[in-house]
């Protein structure tokens, strides 16, 4: 491969300057003359029939321009997975959780909208509610969606190999039950939407979204208008982590009211709405049985997973499929039986969150592996190395793993945490632990599979890149621009980017399943190559050579053999133009990943993702036996991300993800009582602050994946799979107590220590 100038460099994000000076515009920073402000009335009951909604008094409040309830909207269901659509933009006939949307108003001021909301009268008929997924699965439980009488809205049962036989052949069997908690994504920017309608009835929606093209489809569906009448523009987005994948009532209401009133309309959620009425990580009950040989070979695993989905599906079938398939990596599991259930309850709704269904099962596997290691007398690191999957091995589920640095991540993480010196050797209260994981680099998602890009070389020699990739703060625009600059022999600042405007940019699946760099990066690379070829063709003609003899570098086009012979980039463009070729020079690229849409894998074998990343997290903790407080002193994150296009941004991804994972191990939990969220604020919920963070060592393991652009794979999402089990395993090393439910709060530690000392 030729020497790289831009790819692989630590470059600040292209929009960092805007963000550092306050000039970056997020959805709520936009406004238009005559704009109206909206508010949503939400259900105070977890499960009820809506008998009557009276908007009369609300409409009398000065400044109020319009009000609607569920009966005013098109009766069109939406959902992120087409076959699992189960939600209306506003509840029709029935509410299914506290916070479900019942009615909405718009007014000339937010105060007037708030006052109007308080004047809407709703008559409900309360229905019996169910809050525990295990109860909801039982016959006779209240039915939350009439079309799903057993409340189990997604089921998967998948067997690879022969699990019963493998259990018989096992020397040891291990059975454990695990529980995980609901976690809120907590993006710093609350969800917002702003809509405008033009004279032809076309809706333009600025939205805090991760998936503009998906939002276009869902919004067109719920408004019951053609997709061509909807334009989605993604301004700056203040973090998403999966929570900004779904359409929300704010998107629908902004657009619907804009259509009804002819005025610009803005809806912004408050923090309580973000906590209670958006999405959260699915809490799970996990039963895990593992069959082992004496020598530490994993023979078989059986899972029974019950995911508490809350009131609606969101990504349900995809989430449960991800959980199943990502048990099959990073270890060699020849025999697996996975039964998974997504169950409705009258609680906040589960959705995609960084890791999406996998961190929960990873917690179970990695915690049990340490139980196993102790029981059969093998070092936990050795046990993992022995079972580590290697690149090129045939995979029992037919996953095509072309690059795999898992063993190396294990070794490097162990070295960085001083495993040999510390494991089992630290004084009481101090300990180390580790855990592994694997994650896809792109999940094909239902009809928006290919990623497109356009690269334009303009008359003045500048380059414009059009991509549908949605930068939500992770730096996607920067990384993709680096790829284009590299291909065209330019500097990063030569590239202008227009991203994620469904009217202008080519289709892209969006920020989803960690595929942006791989999918949109490959598409942009192809587009740049195509533009480059067009330019070189004209120059070759002029110089009477073949295009293959030419090179572009440092804004010059020249003969490889004789770099003196050539033209400046500007001269080259002039030559191109004078040869009567169309301007601007346009290169198009489209990338279709060699992978199947995941839910089809429930029926047939196939590859899940174009590439797989691998990672190991290691933790050192200190447990205070007096207070029960766990302090994470150090985290090591060793990540095989293929080749890092921008190592500084990769580090940022890893560090943020590790700290989030630590929060989920020790602090975070959306607490509900009879469906009511009790801690819907930062103060009560408690994400990690700067005071809690450990020192973090990021170890990049580069593997150069053949599918990824310049060998790049996922980074940052898979990182959140294993901090929790690494920390929980370290706590065991520290105090000899094994926790099987999250989060491990001080009261649990104290109780466990008391139990331990009394037994």
């Amino acid at each position: 491969m030729r020497e790289l100038n831009i790819v692989g460099k630590r470059a600040p994000m292209l929009d960092a300057w805007e963000k550092a000076t306050g000039k970056a515009k997020y959805t709520d920073d936009l406004s238009f003359p005559g704009m109206l402000f909206g508010k949503i009335l939400r259900s105070p009951l977890p499960h009820a029939k809506i008998l009557r909604v009276d908007l009369t008094e609300a409409l009398k409040v000065p400044g109020v321009k319009d009000a609607i309830s569920g009966k005013d909207i098109p009766k069109k269901k939406y959902g992120i997975v087409p076959k699992a659509k189960d939600e209306y933009a506003l509840a029709i006939e029935k509410v299914r959780y506290i916070g479900d949307e019942v009615a909405a108003v718009v007014a000339t001021s937010i105060e007037a909208a708030e006052e109007a909301i308080s004047k809407i009268r709703v008559e409900y008929e309360a229905l019996p509610a169910v809050f525990d997924p295990l109860e909801a699965m039982k016959p006779g439980a209240p039915i939350i969606h009439e079309e799903v009488p057993d409340n189990i809205s997604a089921t998967i049962r998948k067997e690879f190999g022969n699990v019963a036989k493998a259990f018989e052949e096992s020397d040891f069997l291990f059975e454990d039950n695990f529980e995980t908690q609901p976690v809120n994504h907590c993006p710093m920017e609350p969800q917002a939407a702003l809509a405008m309608v033009d004279h032809q009835g076309k809706v333009t929606l600025w939205s805090s979204t991760q998936i503009p093209f998906f939002l276009r489809r869902n919004l067109a569906t719920t408004l019951d208008i053609p997709e061509s009448k909807v334009r989605i523009i993604k301004p700056k987005v203040g973090g998403g982590f999966g929570q900004k994948i779904d359409l929300y009532a704010k998107d629908f209401c902004a657009a619907f009211f804009a259509m009804r009133t002819g005025r610009p309309v803005k809806f912004v959620y408050d923090r309580e709405e973000v906590f209670t009425c958006t999405r959260q990580r699915h809490p799970m009950h996990i039963y895990l049985k593992t069959g082992m040989k004496k020598d530490g070979t994993i023979l078989a695993q059986q899972f029974r997973v019950v995911a508490d989905g809350g009131a609606y599906n969101s990504t349900a079938p995809l989430m449960i499929t991800l959980a199943c398939f990502f048990i099959m990596l990073p270890y060699r599991i020849e025999n697996l039986l996975f039964e998974g259930y997504h169950v409705y309850t009258n609680k906040p709704v589960g959705g995609a969150m960084r890791g999406h269904g996998i961190p929960q099962v990873r917690f179970a596997v990695e915690t049990q592996l340490d139980v196993i290691a102790e029981k059969i007398g093998i070092d936990p690191l050795e046990l993992r190395l022995k079972n580590a999957f290697q690149a090129g091995e045939p995979h029992p589920a037919k996953l095509l793993v072309q690059s795999c640095g898992f063993s190396e991540t294990l070794k490097k993480a162990a070295e960085a945490i001083a495993w040999k010196e510390k494991r089992g050797k630290l004084p009481f209260g101090r300990g180390v632990g580790l855990a592994g994981a694997s994650f896809p680099s792109g999940v094909s998602n239902m009809s928006h599979i290919s990623s497109g890009a356009i690269v334009k070389i303009e008359r003045d020699g500048s380059v414009t890149l059009l991509t549908g990739a949605a930068d939500i703060g992770q730096g996607a625009e920067t990384v993709i621009s680096q790829i284009v600059a590299e291909e065209l022999g330019m500097q990063l600042e030569d590239i202008r980017i227009t991203a994620a405007d469904t009217e202008i940019t080519p289709l892209d699946p969006g920020t989803f399943g960690s595929g942006v760099t791989l999918r949109a990066g490959n598409a942009a690379r192809m587009a740049a190559q195509s533009a480059r070829e067009k330019l070189l063709e004209a120059i070759a003609e002029k110089m009477e050579v073949t295009p293959g003899e030419l090179e572009i570098k440092n804004r010059r086009v020249f003969l490889k053999e004789n770099p003196e012979r050539g033209f400046s980039f500007e001269e080259a463009i002039k030559i191109y133009q004078y040869s009567d070729r169309p301007m601007p020079i346009i290169g198009r690229g489209s990338y279709f990943p060699p992978a199947k849409e995941p839910t089809t894998l429930l029926r047939e074998d196939g590859n899940f993702s174009p590439a797989y990343s691998f990672m190991t997290q290691a933790a050192e903790v200190e447990v205070d036996p007096k207070t029960g407080r766990v302090k994470v002193l150090k985290m090591v994150t060793a990540h095989d991300c293929g080749r890092a296009i921008n190592p500084m941004l990769v580090e940022g991804q890893l560090e943020g993800s590790v700290v989030g994972g630590m929060g989920q191990a020790l602090y975070e939990n959306v607490v509900t009582e009879r469906g009511q969220v009790l801690n819907p604020s930062f103060l009560d919920y408690g994400i990690p602050t700067a005071m809690e963070i450990p020192s973090i060592v990021s170890v990049e393991v580069e593997t150069n994946d053949p599918e990824g652009p310049y060998g790049a794979k996922e980074s940052g999402e898979g990182t959140q799979l294993s901090p929790a089990p690494a920390i929980i395993n370290a706590i065991y090393d520290a105090i000899g107590v094994r926790f099987k439910d999250l989060p491990v709060t001080p009261d649990k530690v104290l109780e466990a220590l008391e139990k331990k000392s009394s037994s």
Binding site: Y26, D29, M188, G652, V659, S681
Partner: protein, 155 residues
């Protein structure tokens, strides 16, 4: 009820007619178009709305605009001088301390006030100083590095 407020924002004396109950955050964003100050929670728990009032970090979402008349208010838009970025802004950009950027304005202003008080802090002091400013993207690591590098105490 509306009343006339006299505010000094980013060095400029302003007279504006606004509802008397408006918070400083609302006035900055809605009446003055200074949207660099962010609304993350409106409850004083996230720090995204931090501005400087007479050099001290304040939560503008919990501050009535009427209460800060006669004081010097600095927002993120007023930090660069003569088009030249404040060293903290440059350092946040170069060190990769900015991801989604929503916490950035509040974080930078908190850091500015802190470094003026303690020009050569320890890492622990930096952590404590920014503990009221939440960030979900970065894990704070590069933010702390950026602040320490300005203070000349880079690791």
């Amino acid at each position: 009820m509306k009343r006339i407020l006299k505010l000094n924002v980013n060095g400029e004396d302003l007279e504006i007619l606004v509802e008397a109950h408006k918070t400083l955050l609302e006035v900055l964003r809605e009446d003055l178009g200074l949207t660099g100050t962010k609304r993350g929670c409106d409850l004083g728990t996230c720090g995204a709305c931090t501005v400087l009032i007479d050099g001290k970090p304040w939560l503008s979402c919990l501050t009535l605009a009427a209460a800060v008349q006669g004081k010097k208010i600095i927002t993120i838009e007023g930090l660069a001088e003569d088009g030249k970025l404040h060293p903290l802004q440059s350092s946040f950009i170069e060190k990769g301390a900015i991801q989604c950027g929503f916490c950035t304005p509040g974080m930078i202003l908190t850091a500015k006030a802190f470094l003026e008080e303690i020009p050569h802090p320890s890492e622990e002091e930096v952590k404590k100083a920014i503990s009221g400013n939440l960030c979900r993207c970065t894990g704070y690591i590069k933010i702390i590095e950026a602040i320490l590098s300005v203070s000349g105490r880079e690791e």
